[in-house]
Amino acid sequence: MYSLHEIKTRGYLPPKRLRRLLFYGFLALGKVFITNMKDIKKLSSLSNTKRRYHRPPRRFEIPQYNKNMKYCTKDERYLRPTMYCNSHAPEIVALAHQLGAYQKSDQEFAEAAFEFAKRKLILEMLPLDGVENTLRRGTGTCLHELSVFVALCRAAGIKARYKLYSMNMIEAWSDTLADDPMVKKWSDAMGYFMIHGEAEAYVDGKWMVCDVGPTPERQAGSNIPITRFGEDSIGIWFSVIPGTIMEVESISFGLNAMMKLVFKVAPATVDNVNANILDQIKLGRKILAEKGEKEYDAEIRKNFKPKFPEPVLKKRHEIIFEK
């Protein structure tokens, strides 16, 4: 499927940090599965789920592609297609053009791509697949959404990459995601091994952070500010385990395996989580409709003091490392 050369150069092998996170993630998941065999049997049948998840309609139309559309074909780091992120795919190229590729400035285009990925794509737990599929469905995990944003930027000739890390689950999210007993057990067992991410686009000589994962409705539904283009959500509404941030060109092997495993063993759990996400969106939409997005955001930011002091890792001369 991938050539050895591609695997090596585009960084498909998980970096050491990610390997560690994956290792513990699998251990934790395995433990939950083994210690909850009975429940798992129940959850493996969708008929046992309380309510079924129905994928909401796609929020956008995919524009028509034509052969004359320009796209970036450079084989350069952060510009070329990578795993699940085919920036040459006709759907991506067409959409990039609709969003103003090669017409707008880099900054304007990246912002437009950010707004698209943030607002139009809906969170749904499912195994990873290519950006074409994500666009067809209109849904995906945060990693799917990141890939769409990254692909759009790359198609338009703007360097883009992933920023992956292990985050601290915020309460509002653990209520939605961990409301399901199985996910709760898993996230408890996982502790901090929750992989989440943002994207970064290289605009005017600077990497701009883009928190495309949560839609404004979901942020409103969890009482957090609506993160903007260039605004890092780290420190605004959650904290990251120091030393886990990885800035990478591509998603790597292993990440998908975990998702696939959960999907296979406990589809009812996944279904339940997805239904919860829709509830959260509904709640957030109501809040935004009542207050207005701008007003909501201004109000929440006023009340939203940075609750997390920055952990510091400044060298202290009193500590002597002998080796």
Binding site: E171, D188, A189, Y192, F308, P309, K314, E318
Partner: protein
Amino acid sequence: MTDLNSYIAKLDKAIEKYIPSKNTPLYESLYKPKDLFRIPLDDAKKMQLKTIKHSFIHHYNNNQFYHNFCKEHSFSPEDIKTNEDLDKIPLIPDKFFKDYPNGKEFATWLANIYTGDLPKIVIKQKKPTYDDVIDAFNRAGIIVTYSSGTGGRHTFVPRDQRTFLNSEYILAKSFVTMVYPFWEYDSYGYLLMPNPRKNFIYAGKAVEVYFDAVKDVDVAIDRRVTTELISMTMGGAGGIKSKFVRYFAYKKSKKMIDDIIAWLEKHENTDHKITFVGAPYILYAVMEKLKKQGRTFNFGERGGVGTGGGWKIHENKRIPVSDFRKEVQNVLGFKDKYILDIYGMVEGNGWMVHCPEGHYLHVPYSFYKPLVLDDEFKPADYGEWGRFAFLDGAAQSYPGFIVTGDRVRLLKRCPVCDRPGPVLEPEVKRAKGEDVRGCAEEVRKMLSSDLGS
């Protein structure tokens, strides 16, 4: 009967080395008042302002990370003029103490939390484990205690000697005051915790003072319990090694219960005073076994219990504190007034203790300020449920201004007894979405094989 002043004076003599240094606000607010829970409110308010402000200035001036945090909040020592201003001191979420890297960086992270100059700390290993780093700090005189939540993620807090002694002094004095006139040095104790001399689990470590306050103390868990061991038994790791660990823990727990019963028998027909201090579920397991054998004891006024944290008895069973007291009365024959629960946490040095009359958790208020925060992290009124936060004037080696994940209700004064200060409802819960934790919970999980069932 001795009066309270001479009773506490006796305690001070036994635990002299723990008394705060003279000429500090803490000496005035913690050592001088003989009954910490009956200081007239007006006097206590002055002490509280002085002690906490003094502590804030110390951290503001000597801790880079906290200084920056205050700057972000545009808060500086000049902003503190009254006791109410104290509420605006920037609070650190307890989660902060869990966000650490591993290996060498862990040592650096700890050093950056620490307020003031560190002694020289030598890390010998190329890839130090958490336990290696803790040991290195300990060799340099800094005690890194911990407590953990789920996933084997620990909360680490660095304490210098002074801060640690403060914490121990507060614990001993608060408890001994509440059981007045029960305490005497010539008595026998059983520590239901890992041996503090070999361990760094916080609540366990802080009760080291028990060995000085009571002549003869036995220890239930006499081995070193490492962070690695806890991770293995708490689910942070799997594999054959941890299965072995759990199996041996199970074997050891059985013997532990039998040892405690033998100890009770030894003191049964004497005039000795006995106390249990530590994790409630160990004593619960002892009582379950006794009940199965149809046996009871009748220690009457000769028995006392101080429990701490962890009211989960089994994986899915939580026992109400009041039921536990009834059990102790029925099975061991202790008096209700001498069965008190203590609430504290690894990030703080203040201990809340039940009053014997109403079993409300009395908060020391002359050097420590309790707060309850609403969902937006703003101070809530008395009587409201919310998140527990505190300003701890006894923390010298790290800023003790902390928001916890515990859900509490703070009352202006005790509905039952006549002590004037604030109290918390008798039972503390974890806020929604927070880890279950507490040192006793940790020990319980470690020995989690179905004790006594």
